[in-house]
């Protein structure tokens, strides 16, 4: 089978109603999406507009599925796939699009460009052409379960060290980080301590019945649109949730992990899970509303703003909870403009942060975010996604923004008053 046939076969596997609707004559090439894209705004390159990126894939899909394009491809801009097209797809789907969906909400027709480009990501992965590091990180997550006997020792040692930090900060030798024990809440962190210690402080302060997962929430399989592997990464957590008899699975502050565990994975498995899936943002907000934690906002005295991660806000539906948490734990809150559903992507999403070969491009793609942050006059940027956290920290350093950056739980934990 030659490359073209294999690509068409892989495209067919992924050709669903969403892609099919957006892949033929829905797009009128009106150009309204162009200025909605943070990458086009940063570069001004016509190749970087959402429609131009979608068109690279759409023209191949049209050649197969659109009647007129089958007969007169040049008339509609359709074309047969060539080897060099795949290189262009890598640029369009991985490097020059963070799948943030800002173009979708600005399109008068509702063209789902990110669905088309995510389809291209899946095809490129099947062809062995997606970024190596994203595949390595996916495989490493699967290896973590397969080598759990060896890994668990490392993990428990790490947690024991972090538990001491929690006890010191709370001045309470009974504070604990239970690991994979029976509990109402299974908290799924990332690998880094910054997603473990603040959450442990909050759960302990709220006297929650909780346990820490042995696994990390992040799922690089979804960035390369390798759904079978992404499902494996999720399955590790599902098995653990069943083992610990969790009623609620709480996902740490990680945009894509929340999107996967809350919205996408139930679709992959074809059912709603036996437990509720919540973001740590929602849980923190609940604890504040229910009076389970006491806060001293003066501990966060600097003006603070919030960056809505695309996967949490525009794709996830969480807007008010982080704002409530930040406002309850800070003296001065400043809203970014635009924000919420219209917020701009930071430029680091959908795996860009891990692709070191595109670092310069990524920092350029953060130009709009830098301007947004400057306009707030905030001294601290709080966000709820590790990719955004990395990106905004680097943007701050590169552009001398003189800001500190943290996730919401760290910010909240800083204002906690321990009784």
């Amino acid at each position: 089978m030659d490359t073209r046939e294999k690509v068409i076969q892989e495209l067919d596997k992924r050709y669903n109603r969403l892609v099919g609707t957006s892949a033929t004559n829905l797009c009128t090439h009106c150009g309204w999406c162009i200025e909605s894209c943070h990458i086009f705004k940063a570069t001004g390159n016509p190749e970087h507009s959402p429609v131009a990126k979608a068109e690279k894939v759409r023209r191949v899909l049209k050649r197969k599925h659109d009647w007129l394009s089958r007969l007169f491809p040049k008339w509609t801009g359709a074309k047969d796939l060539t080897e060099s097209d795949l290189d262009e797809w890598i640029e369009a789907a991985f490097k020059n699009c963070t799948l943030c969906e800002r173009c979708v909400i600005n399109c008068p027709m509702g063209v789902e460009t990110p669905q088309i480009l995510a389809t291209a990501r899946g095809v490129l992965t099947a062809m062995g052409k997606s970024p190596e590091i994203l595949n390595q990180l996916t495989d490493a997550a699967i290896a973590r379960e397969e080598n759990m006997e060896m890994m668990e020792g490392f993990f428990r040692k790490q947690i024991a060290n972090l538990e001491k930090q929690v006890q010191e900060r709370m001045n309470d030798s009974n504070a604990r980080i239970p690991v994979s024990e029976e509990a109402d809440i299974l908290y799924v962190p990332l690998s880094g301590a910054h997603t473990m210690v603040p959450a442990a402080l909050i759960f302990n302060a709220a006297k929650a019945n909780w346990t820490m997962s042995l696994f990390e929430a992040s799922n690089y399989g979804v960035f390369v649109a390798d759904i079978p592997k992404a499902k494996k990464v999720v399955e590790r957590v599902l098995k653990e949730a069943k083992k610990v008899k969790a009623k609620t699975l709480v996902v740490t502050e990680c945009g894509h992990a929340y999107g996967v565990l809350k919205w996408e994975a139930p679709k992959w498995f074809g059912k709603q899970f036996d437990f509720e899936v919540k973001s740590l943002l929602e849980v923190m907000n609940d604890y504040i509303q229910e009076g389970k934690i006491v806060l001293d906002p003066s501990k966060n005295s600097e003006p603070v703003t919030y960056h809505d991660p695309c996967n949490i806000g525009r794709k996830g539906g969480i807007f008010e909870e982080p704002r409530n948490v930040i406002q309850a734990s800070s003296k001065e809150y400043k809203e970014m403009t635009p924000s919420k559903v219209e917020n701009f992507c930071c430029g680091g999403g959908s795996g860009m942060v891990a692709c070191s070969e595109w670092t310069e491009d990524r920092l350029l793609y953060g130009t709009v975010k830098v301007e947004q942050i400057k306009k707030t006059n905030a001294k601290k940027v709080v966000t709820a996604c590790d990719n955004c956290l990395h990106q905004i920290k680097e943007l701050g350093e590169k552009n001398n923004l003189n800001i500190s950056v943290s996730n919401v739980s760290e910010h909240l934990a800083n204002a906690l008053v321990f009784s």
Partner: protein, 214 residues
């Protein structure tokens, strides 16, 4: 064929054939689309799918709610005038034939006045497509042809309304029929896909509590 029977043919038989053709083509397309697998949401909703769908369809009439129209109000007004022109030019093909009593001189002038801005907007669209590099980059022959053929449709529509000669009237109907034959294959069929796309996107965004925004 005398001019009377020719006019009857282009206004009735030809239109019936063209509309039937268009409906059959659209039906085939709709069936093809609905047979594709659809990954519906499985998690319990955070918002309302129905509200999302309504908002998704309604946002085109709420320019303040979407940045791409809010920041380019002139463009949105142009977009609206253009589509009003399209609608009136299409409605006119029916009213002209089936309700001639309704087509008083005043109505004809009102219809013409509603179609005329679309011609003006059409020229602006054409100019933008040629002059803006990011639009030229994505434009295909179908884009230019569709735009120009609509200009012709609008123009003959106005001439038929104002002059009402056999030449302009038959030109209008022949172009309408040609249009109906071509539309299912071109990007002009976007107005059918719009209903599918907005439904799917609106349902997901509504379900997840993303729209409507509080």
């Amino acid at each position: 064929m005398d001019s009377q029977s020719f006019m009857h043919f282009v206004e009735y038989e030809l239109q019936a054939i063209a509309i039937t053709w268009m409906v059959v083509m659209y039906t085939i397309k709709a069936v093809q689309l609905s047979r594709l697998p659809m990954p519906w949401e499985k998690e319990k909703p955070k918002g309302s799918g129905a509200k999302g769908i309504l908002r998704s369809y309604g946002s085109i009439f709420m320019p303040w709610s979407v940045e791409s129209s809010r920041k380019h109000m002139g463009r949105w007004i142009g977009f609206s005038l253009y589509h009003v022109g399209c609608l009136v030019a299409i409605v006119n093909t029916f009213t002209y034939t089936f309700t001639p009593g309704m087509m008083t001189p005043t109505v004809k002038i009102v219809f013409s006045a509603l179609i005329a801005p679309a011609i003006f907007i059409g020229f602006i669209k054409f100019y933008n497509r040629l002059s803006r590099p990011e639009l030229r980059h994505i434009s295909t022959p179908d884009d230019y042809f569709s735009l120009l053929s609509l200009q012709l449709f609008f123009f003959t529509g106005i001439m038929a309304l104002l002059l009402d000669t056999v030449f302009w009237r038959s030109s209008y109907y022949i172009i309408t029929a040609a249009f109906l034959f071509y539309v299912p294959f071109s990007k002009i069929s976007h107005y059918i896909y719009f209903f599918f796309a907005r439904f799917l996107t609106g349902k997901r965004y509504g379900w997840r509590g993303i729209i409507p925004q509080k």
